[in-house]
């Protein structure tokens, strides 16, 4: 196009022909792009990671057991159930709605699975299926009420919070507590099932290889289409870094019990959700509805269906989380899903970087957020501080995250980013 500048050795890619574009290729360029992004208020995972480092450093100095392999193994296991609930919250926040009833729904599902397995003698798979279906049905009902009557989601789910807590107590009956048998597959999965060390390393290599393969294939497709593409020089360090980090984490956890299957399940759900959000038409619609619902509607998106699908996903994941929490405890009782489960799940999504204003965030924020929250919880427990401190500290961290969300949103607006 612009052949004014004489010394252009090769034809520039289709998407880099505008002369106003500054060079952002190569490692240095990427670093610069990262700085640009951060300064314009698109903070990404930076604040959470920084926060996590600070929290870990403080807790480690207060109690040297905190970063021990055994404690981190436990932390990963403890994170999984609420993390899965937070994953559902991420989807709801992306469309600028909220679900306040995830705690109650998870408690109800714990009660249902316990009653069906223990009292009714159902096989575990059937009980699990029924519980998950119940979660989906709850989300569907929310969606219908939201779409048909236009009741704000926080009111509907506030009603759900109370209603399903009541149902949970009713299902549990007079005794109020049901123990799951220790030999049940569920309890085994949540307490004792660990990935054999060799397999954990295979998984790590698989993850790094998978990242490299997707990067490589993507770059090749872009190059053949005449678009700019990621050079091999930045693909290799990316995958190598992932290999190193994951490899170290897994090696460290393998010093004691290793990586729990439940945690692997949590990560698998995150990866699946990430794929759905980033690589499918449905995910694109979710972001569009969260960014500008009217524009999405005019583009021909079935906005109501998107709301319903997101609410169904959230309640379903809440049910799965509740089920795993019951399995981990080997019991369902009146306190299942109560206390801080609800707020922890929501706080995790927000702390992890998913905006309360809709349209921004990613599946990985569930992981980052829940690790922050569980770290605080675990660290304070190690210090023999009771839940009063835990609530206060988590509250402060949540407040910081929300403030950061609002401030960075303002900064983004002034830098031309949504």
């Amino acid at each position: 196009m612009n052949s004014k500048t004489a010394p252009t050795p090769q034809i520039r890619p289709l998407d880099l022909q505008d002369e106003r574009l500054q060079d952002r290729t190569g490692l240095k360029g990427q670093l610069k792009a990262f700085v640009d992004r951060t300064r314009s208020g698109d903070l990404g995972v930076l604040p959470v990671v920084a926060g996590l480092v600070v929290i870990w450093a403080v807790l480690q100095t207060l109690n040297p057991i905190f970063l021990s392999s055994a404690n981190l193994v436990n932390l990963a296991m403890e994170s999984s159930a609420v993390g899965i609930i937070a994953l559902g919250i991420v989807g709801v926040l992306l469309v600028a709605q909220i679900d306040l009833s995830v705690g109650s729904v998870s408690g109800l599902s714990a009660a249902v699975v316990a009653v069906t397995v223990v009292n009714l003698g159902w096989p575990v798979w059937l009980a699990v299926l029924a519980t998950v279906a119940l979660g989906a049905a709850i989300g569907w009902v929310y969606g219908q009420i939201f779409n048909r009557f236009g009741v704000p989601s926080f009111v509907i789910t506030l009603a759900g919070l109370l209603g399903f807590l009541g149902l949970q107590l009713y299902v549990l009956g007079a005794k109020g507590s049901i123990n799951l048998p220790f030999d049940s597959a569920l309890v085994y999965f949540a307490q004792l099932a660990f990935v054999p060390p060799w397999l954990s390393y295979v998984l790590v290599v698989g993850a790094a290889g998978g990242l490299f393969a997707t990067d490589y294939l993507h770059a090749r497709a872009r190059r053949t289409a005449g678009l700019s593409s990621m050079p091999l020089q930045s693909m290799i360090p990316r995958s190598a870094l992932l290999l190193l980090v994951l490899g170290f984490v897994v090696w460290y956890l393998n010093q004691t019990r290793g990586v729990g299957w439940m945690f692997v399940f949590f990560i698998a759900l995150i990866l699946a959700m990430n794929y759905l959000l980033k690589r499918t038409k449905w995910g694109r619609s979710v972001y569009a509805v969260g960014g500008n619902a009217e524009a999405a509607r005019r583009a021909g998106i079935n906005v109501k269906a998107v709301y319903t699908s997101v609410l169904v996903t959230c309640s379903t994941l809440a049910a799965v989380g509740g089920l795993l929490a019951a399995a981990r405890l080997a019991a369902a009782n009146q306190g299942s899903g109560g206390g801080d489960v609800n707020l922890n799940a929501i706080a995790a999504a927000v702390i992890g970087g998913t905006s309360l204003f809709g349209g921004r965030g990613s599946a990985f924020s569930a992981l980052l957020g829940i690790v922050v929250i569980q770290s605080i919880s675990s660290g304070l427990t190690l210090l023999n501080l009771d839940s009063s401190f835990r609530f206060m500290v988590t509250g402060v961290v949540l407040l910081l995250a929300v403030m950061l969300d609002s401030v960075s949103r303002r900064s983004r607006t002034s830098h031309g980013r949504a």
């Binding site: 998407d15 574009l21 289409a225 500008n292 005019r298």
Partner: protein
């Protein structure tokens, strides 16, 4: 009703789109009253009218954003209802809205293909991006990167994106609500070229504009709305800008003609004898 009795169908039978007696009110405000309009294939119909005349409301009725209170819409000869924007897109009615309907948090490519992504279960980003570049080049768009969020674009760039998006689904009718209002000189000319190209390819085009020069340049017919009512349909070839302005403001002795008379502008003060509809 149309005061100039000319054959709107250009002799080839049923019009592509025909509106009969459309009414729409917002609470106490009657935004559209008894509106008739016809658009044939290969025809550019301009809709003009003062601010608040109901032009955008008419567009929104046609694109499924607002449902009309009464009246019929016939598309290719058969009566249809357009309850949702999706229904309009399925019929083949694509719209560029005045209040631009883009998602700020998505990139240019994402916005262009929103609602019609290529391979829904495994988005083909590469194909979408190359097609976006091709399309935007046709429109002489000056957008440095298609991987930036729409929030960072200028008003005219956003307009270009919105226009480009309406063309993606190969629609039968394209509705443009003040498409050139925010555009630069080159981009305006490009949009006018585009409108002519659409006509040549046999699309029907409805263009809303306040710019008489643009209307005269590309439209075949011009329909005037005044306070929510039809106030005349003219053949562009045999009507003067003054007559159209008279129909828009409702009088030959209007503020526009008085102004040009006062400044002694040539050819502006001849009061036309016809077209004093209602």
């Amino acid at each position: 009703m149309s005061s100039t009795p000319n054959s709107p169908g250009d002799g080839n039978g049923t019009p592509l789109l025909a509106l009969r007696g459309i009414n729409k009110s917002f609470g106490a405000v009657a935004a559209l009253m008894d509106i008739d309009l016809e658009v044939s294939a290969g025809e550019v119909v301009a809709i003009v009218g003062d601010n608040g005349a109901g032009k955008s409301t008419l567009v929104k009725v046609l694109s499924g954003v607002h449902a009309p209170d009464s009246g019929t819409i016939a598309f290719e000869g058969s009566d249809v209802t357009i309850p949702t924007p999706m229904a309009a897109l399925h019929l083949g009615i694509a719209t560029v809205f005045q209040d631009l309907a883009l998602c700020d948090n998505l990139t240019v490519v994402d916005n262009l293909f929103l609602g019609r992504e290529i391979s829904p279960l495994r988005l083909n980003e590469v194909e979408m991006e190359t097609r976006s570049w091709e399309l935007l080049k046709q429109l002489s768009a000056k957008i440095p990167s298609l991987r930036t969020q729409v929030a960072s674009l200028s008003g005219g760039q956003r307009q270009t994106v919105a226009i480009a998006r309406s063309l993606l689904g190969d629609p039968k009718i394209v509705i443009l609500d003040e498409p050139t209002a925010a555009l630069g000189v080159a981009q305006t000319a490009e949009v006018l070229n585009l409108v002519e190209r659409l006509r040549e390819r046999g699309h029907g085009v409805i263009m809303i504009s306040h710019n008489m020069a643009d209307v005269k340049a590309v439209a075949d017919r011009v329909a005037v709305l005044r306070l929510g009512r039809n106030n005349g349909v003219f053949n562009v070839s045999d009507v003067s800008a003054e007559d159209v302005i008279a129909a828009i403001t409702g009088a030959t002795d209007n503020v526009v003609s008085r102004r040009s008379a006062a400044r002694g502008a040539p050819g502006a003060s001849t009061p036309s004898e016809e077209n004093q509809a209602q």
